[in-house]
Structure formats: structure tokens, C-alpha cells
């Protein structure tokens, strides 16, 4: 038999008093988890869309030149970790993201270079064929097709495209689909060379050991200290994963700060509200505690009873809120955000870390307010209130 004063006895037999507070906590956890996940999803989106930067690095000539200067290329060739340097023509197609349409690079390469790069990212052709030489055709990975809601044979870029530097003077069709999580689009070098005459040629390099790429990148053009690297920032720019993330995080730092303030405010308000709810419930339970105190149950034991009731309630509500958040965010990620080019991790540990202060704050707040009232509790006045 469970002890009558067990917190579980109270919690299971008083749903009308327990559920409203539990519901508030569940909603609060979902709110914080959703805000934190969505904020973090921008970072994840950049890492997902530009994940190819884990496998190769672009070296782009600065505006004054049409290709990477020879002295800069020579520096690349001297790096022992580099496996291969490929010169490619490029053009851009639009992709949908949460901040609007952004250009995504299409690499124009020879068939041999294309096969090498696709092998590097472990992408295989699952539908259609590879682009023919000189023709306005591309092969793209599945996530790009899903993002643009296109299918094999559709036009992915053309003269009617809206948006910045993306587009093509001739309609470019999707002729092949690659099975890969990594976003990549490839065309023939002959097509890019004859069609995009004014677009600079870039260099693309891989390392013998893929994990060396970050080391080489940092040596060539360190993040935040461009001038300290081997390459000249006046002549070239380097598109690396570290660079991209640093730029995104820097530009989003204000938003992250706002989010932290919002989270802290929500947690404070919820803790305050829950503390007030605890007080109301405690007021309703004063006869109970007065009688128990008169019967000889110490204030410390009564306090522990309330603490455990609060801890159990907040932990269960937090767990339910977290599970609910995972389900709802998974649904939203798949059905709402993905189509809008936002990648959301429904099980982002960072987001759930932000919800941990909720049960802690509520428990502390409830403990303090109830302890103050319990200290002033006069059992006789309860018993004599007839």
C-alpha cells in the first residue's frame, strides 16, 4: 500500500488541481523548444544546403579577374594534402530558403571530373542520365528537386527566373537525379564555358584525406583573419564550411540574443505564474496542512511533500512537453518547414537544454513561496475555523 501522504497519491487523485499547472508547463516547454529549434534551424539549414563544403572547397577569383591568378593556383598546388584541383565553370540556380530565394552553384565540369566529384560525395545516379556535353542540362541531387518541387525533365533555370545572379539565358533542364543527402548540381564544362562567358572560372580542390580539408582551408585563408593565410584575399576568396558558419552565426548573433531574452522572459513569467498557481493551490490546501501539522507531521515533512509533488509534476510535464515537441516539430519540419527551405532538427539537444530551466525555476519558485506560507501556518487557527 502506498503511504497516504505520498506525492503520487495527491497527484493521481487531484487531476483538476494538477492538470492545469501540468498543461501550462507542457505548453511552455513546447514554446521554448520550438523557438530554440527554429532559431537553430537556420544554422542547420546552411550546414545542410552547403554540406558539399565538407568534401571540397571553392576558390573564387575576386571581381577584377575572370579566373584564379596563376600565383594563387601555384600556392594551392604546393599543399601536400590536396588531392586534386579542378577548374570549373559555374552558374547559379535558385533554391528556396527561409530568407527567400538564394543562388545555388551548378558546377560545369568534364565527365571525368564530374564522376570524380560524385564519387567523393558518394552520389549515384538513380533516375535519368548525366548531362550531355554542351547541352543546357543538369544532374541534381534529390533534395534540390524536392526543394524546387521539380521532376525529371523540368526546367530548373532559365531567362524568366527571378532573383539576383541566378538564372540562365537558355532554359536548363534536369536530365538526371542523384541519390545523395548532399546538395549538388552539375552540368557540362562546355555548356558553362559557352553560355556564361562573363562568369568567373573558379577552382575547386579536394584533399587526399577528407578530414584534412578544414586544416588546409584554415592554412590558406583562416576564418576571421583572412590576411594571415597563404592565399591573398585581394586576389581570391575561399568558400569553406567554417567561413560559411562563421558568417551565418555572426549575422544571426543578434537574433540568438533576442531568442535568449525571449526564452528567459517566458521562463520567468511561467515560473511566476506557476508560483502564483502553487500559492492558490496551497491556500486551498491550508486546512489539509493545518490538520496534518496538528497531528504531528513536521513542517519539514510537509515541505518535502510539496517539493516532491512539484518536482514530480514538473518533471512529468517537462517530459510530456518534450515528447510532444518532438512529435509536433517532426511534423512541422516535414510538412511545413522543409518545403520552405528550412531544416529543423526536432530532436535538437540544444533546444531541449533551453527548456531545462522551466522545471527548475518552477520548483524553486514554488518551494520559496510555499515555505514562506508554511512557516506562518497556524494549525490552531485552521482547526478552530469552524
Amino acid at each position: 500500500m502506498r503511504h497516504p501522504l505520498s506525492p503520487f497519491t495527491y497527484l493521481t487523485r487531484n487531476p483538476s488541481k494538477v492538470l492545469p499547472m501540468g498543461f501550462v508547463i507542457v505548453l511552455c516547454v513546447f514554446l521554448i523548444a520550438a523557438v530554440a529549434s527554429i532559431a537553430n534551424s537556420i544554422d542547420l539549414t546552411v550546414r545542410t544546403i552547403y554540406r558539399y563544403t565538407e568534401f571540397f572547397t571553392y576558390v573564387i577569383p575576386q571581381r577584377s579577374t575572370q579566373s584564379v591568378p596563376m600565383d594563387q593556383r601555384a600556392i594551392l598546388e604546393m599543399q601536400p594534402e590536396i588531392d586534386r584541383i579542378i577548374e570549373g565553370g559555374v552558374f547559379f540556380v535558385n533554391i528556396k530558403t527561409v530568407v527567400g530565394r538564394l543562388p545555388f552553384v551548378v558546377i560545369g565540369s568534364t565527365p571525368e571530373e564530374r564522376d570524380y566529384l560524385l564519387k567523393r560525395i558518394r552520389a549515384t545516379l538513380v533516375e535519368g542520365r548525366m548531362p550531355e556535353e554542351g547541352k543546357p542540362e543538369v544532374v541534381v541531387s534529390q533534395p534540390i528537386l524536392e526543394n524546387r518541387n521539380l521532376k525529371l525533365g523540368d526546367v530548373i533555370a532559365g531567362p524568366l527566373d527571378d532573383g539576383g545572379i541566378a538564372g540562365s539565358p537558355v532554359p536548363v533542364k534536369v536530365v538526371g537525379v542523384l541519390k545523395s543527402d548532399i546538395w549538388v548540381a552539375m552540368s557540362s564544362r562546355t555548356f558553362t564555358d559557352k553560355t556564361f562567358l562573363l562568369t568567373p572560372k573558379c577552382l575547386l580542390f579536394t584533399t587526399k584525406v577528407p578530414s584534412d580539408l578544414d586544416v588546409v582551408n584554415e592554412r590558406l585563408m583562416p576564418v576571421g583573419r583572412k590576411g594571415d593565410g597563404f592565399l591573398s584575399p585581394e586576389k581570391v576568396n575561399v568558400l569553406t564550411r567554417a567561413n560559411l558558419l562563421a558568417e551565418v552565426r555572426d549575422s544571426l548573433s543578434s537574433m540568438y540574443m533576442i531568442m535568449e531574452v525571449v526564452s528567459a522572459t517566458v521562463i520567468f513569467v511561467i515560473a511566476l505564474m506557476s508560483g502564483m498557481l502553487s500559492n492558490i493551490y496551497f491556500t486551498q490546501r491550508i486546512p489539509e496542512f493545518g490538520v496534518l501539522a496538528a497531528l504531528g507531521i513536521s513542517r519539514a515533512r510537509l515541505m518535502m511533500k510539496i517539493v516532491w509533488e512539484t518536482v514530480i509534476l514538473t518533471v512529468i510535464a517537462w517530459a510530456i512537453g518534450s515528447v510532444l515537441s518532438v512529435f509536433l516539430l517532426t511534423y512541422l519540419a516535414a510538412n511545413v518547414f522543409k518545403q520552405r527551405g528550412l531544416f529543423l532538427d526536432a530532436m535538437d539537444p540544444w533546444a531541449y537544454q533551453h527548456t531545462l530551466p522551466i522545471p527548475v525555476a518552477i520548483t524553486i519558485f514554488a518551494m520559496v513561496t510555499v515555505w514562506v506560507r508554511l512557516k506562518r501556518l497556524d494549525a490552531v487557527s485552521v482547526i478552530e475555523r469552524r
Binding site: H3, L5, T9, Y10, R13, V291, A294, S298, V380, I383
Partner: protein
């Protein structure tokens, strides 16, 4: 033995002082049913709460077996009430989310719970509440609720049971049932009952009369 010596209790309200008890001294000999009688406002309930350590007197001392309980810490006093005293109040004050059986066991230490369940069932049976253990207070009559409260007072085998107007909210029949249970307990324990109803103290061994906060006289009962 419980005794009190020169107990005074003053209530101060703004500039007015009310002397609720004026130097009450009493010895409560063991194994007796003690009645404290008096009209409303005579200070009998206040005296009871001072005797059991729930209230502090303005002056005077209460001692249990020679040890003063008047200046005990809250925690020590709570321990004393839990281990040595039992209480029956005017209202049963049962917790409405607990069954009758659970209400009886509410003050029992968790490590003694299993051993006390059978005793609680015996008490229910002894108080004429067979089969009512799983009923919630809302399903019981006023008399049944008060008998559950009596069982709650007796479950810990207390040396002294304090009862404050235990029959005030009951009809005569239920009142006698409650008093009969308390009188039985007083055979080998001490029971102190506060009431204004002389009928209910017919079985008392000793009756103390309080009027205006002063002890008038002690009258042995002629019934028991």
C-alpha cells in the same frame, strides 16, 4: 503524567488585552477520562491546545512526565504530538482525496505503514465502520466521519488523546458512540475531552470546570 502549572493566556488586540486563561494549574492522572467543561469563551479549547503543545501560553508551564513541553522547538513538539498524542477535533478534518482507511493512516510513519494497516481495519471494525475503509469522506455520514477521525487519533497508540468538542457536530446517538470509544480508550490511557455538553461527560472520571479562564473546581464523575 501530564500537568500544567499556572497557565495564563492573553490575547492582545490593538490596545485591548483579553485574559483567556488566568493561572490554570491541573494534573491529568493517567488511565482516566478527564473532562473540561465550561461555557463558550471560558478558555477550555485554548487550554487544550496549550496542553498538547499546539499553542504557547503567555505564562506558565506544561510538563509531560516531568519534562516541560512549553519551550520545545516546533520540530520536537511535532514529534511529541506524532508519537505520544492523538487528536479528535470538533470537525473530523478528513482529507477528501483519501479513503477512510488512508485517513486513519495519514500520521503513521512510512516504515510502519504495512504493520498499521491491519490495526486500522480493526479500529474501523471496533468503531462500527466495517467495510467502510475504501470509502471516501464524501460517501460517509457526519457520525461515520467523526468515528474515522477517532480511529485516526487512536492508530498510533497514543498515551494521551485530546478531544476538542468531538460530539458538537453530531446527533446524540453518534455523540455517545464517539464518547464510548474514548471512554474505552481511557481504561489504560489518558483522554482529555473538552465539551460544553454535560451529557457527553457522564462517563468521565474527572471533570474540570472553567469559567472566565479560571478553574472553578474538580468534580469526580459518579457514573464510572
Amino acid at each position: 503524567m501530564l500537568s500544567c502549572n499556572d497557565i495564563c493566556l492573553d490575547y492582545v488586540e490593538a490596545t485591548r488585552v483579553t485574559h483567556a486563561l488566568k493561572g490554570v494549574s491541573l494534573d491529568f492522572s493517567p488511565n482516566k477520562l478527564h473532562g473540561i467543561m465550561g461555557p463558550s469563551g471560558s478558555g477550555k479549547s485554548s487550554l487544550l491546545y496549550i496542553l498538547c503543545g499546539l499553542k504557547s501560553p503567555t505564562a506558565g508551564n506544561v510538563a509531560l512526565d516531568g519534562t516541560s513541553i512549553t519551550n520545545m522547538s516546533d520540530a520536537a513538539c511535532a514529534r511529541l504530538r506524532s508519537q505520544k498524542f492523538g487528536f479528535v477535533f470538533q470537525q473530523p478534518f478528513l482529507l477528501n482525496y483519501l479513503t477512510a482507511l488512508e485517513n486513519i493512516l495519514v500520521g503513521i510513519n512510512p516504515d510502519q505503514l504495512s504493520a498499521s494497516v491491519q490495526k486500522a481495519e480493526s479500529l474501523l471494525s471496533y468503531l462500527g465502520l466495517d467495510g467502510m475503509g475504501d470509502k471516501y469522506p464524501s460517501m460517509l455520514s457526519g457520525g461515520e466521519r467523526q468515528r474515522v477521525a477517532v480511529a485516526r487519533a487512536l492508530i498510533g497508540n497514543p498515551d494521551i488523546v485530546f478531544a476538542d468538542e468531538p460530539t458538537a457536530a453530531l446527533d446524540k446517538d453518534n455523540g455517545y458512540k464517539v464518547m464510548s470509544a474514548l471512554a474505552d480508550w481511557a481504561v489504560d490511557h489518558t483522554v482529555i475531552v473538552v465539551t460544553h455538553d454535560a451529557d457527553m461527560l457522564k462517563g468521565a472520571d474527572v471533570i474540570h470546570h472553567l469559567i472566565g479562564g479560571c478553574l472553578v473546581d474538580d468534580q469526580p464523575s459518579n457514573v464510572r
